[in-house]
């Protein structure tokens, strides 16, 4: 069990910028369970996201999913491994959010190719991220390893400067 008073998110003391064009917020401590094999929940198509109650099921690969729930969510799934501590989540939103991502991501993020309910494991500014678009506003969630979080936050801050 995690001792609540000792729990710290990777970006707890790290400044994240927000402005008129781009907003950056950390969503710490999301519950994430990696599942392989035959699941007992709704599964999304390739590169997609399915809703499972208040949880989301993200496609990672053939017969591999990441079930993401709110902080404190507990669920036991056959073939599931709790990987909550592996990543933290940075939420990137605002009218210029896509412009920021396109500075360091080679995926086609234009609405004709990517949109709400899509996810992809790819690289952003050379660090591996799980990119997940939650809304066409647009709102993106970047799930990044804790040890890469400072670097990615700094890179995003720099890339967002012109849109603040």
């Amino acid at each position: 069990m995690t001792v609540e008073s000792l729990r710290r998110s990777p970006l707890a003391d790290h400044p994240l910028v927000s402005g008129s064009g781009v907003r950056l917020v950390e969503i710490p401590f999301l519950t994430a369970v990696n599942v392989q094999g035959a699941p007992g929940f709704p599964t999304p198509p390739a590169s997609g996201v399915a809703a499972w109650g208040e949880r989301s099921v993200l496609w990672l690969g053939p017969e591999e999913w990441l079930v993401v729930g709110p902080d404190g969510d507990t669920f036991d799934l056959p073939g599931g491994v709790d990987v909550s501590a592996n990543r933290t989540t940075i939420e990137l939103s605002g009218p210029n959010a896509r412009d920021v991502l396109e500075k360091g991501c080679t995926l086609d993020l234009h609405p004709r190719a990517f949109g709400a309910g899509r996810c992809a494991q790819t690289t952003l500014a050379r660090s591996q991220v799980l990119l997940w678009q939650t809304s066409n506003a647009p709102v993106y969630r970047l799930m990044v390893r804790g040890s890469f979080a400072h670097y990615l936050a700094d890179w995003l801050t720099d890339a967002a400067q012109e849109y603040l």
């Binding site: 390739a46 690969g61 080679t106 790819t122």
Partner: protein, 83 residues
């Protein structure tokens, strides 16, 4: 930038992949019976064609799956997507 088509994720940038060498190199059925020269041949010797080559790639920054594909070593064009 070279785009590689992952059979699961679609077209992605080359830097998301790692190369796995020649495809379809079968493990010897009876390695105990092989001479050192035959074993070395299996371990270290690979084809090096000028033209279409069957090779293995892994989408290491994406779905982390291995796949076989055909690439033209002259033009680096991926001739066929395969699993």
């Amino acid at each position: 930038m070279l785009l590689i088509r992952c059979p699961w994720c679609g077209e992605r940038e080359e830097t998301e992949f790692h190369y796995g060498g020649q495809a379809h190199v079968a493990y010897p059925p009876d390695p105990e019976a092989m001479t050192d020269a035959e074993w070395a041949e299996y371990l270290f010797f690979r084809d090096n064609p000028k033209g279409v080559f069957a090779e293995r790639w892994v989408h290491s920054a994406g779905c982390r799956r291995w796949f076989n594909t055909l690439r033209d070593t002259v033009t680096s064009e991926f001739v066929e997507e395969a699993r």
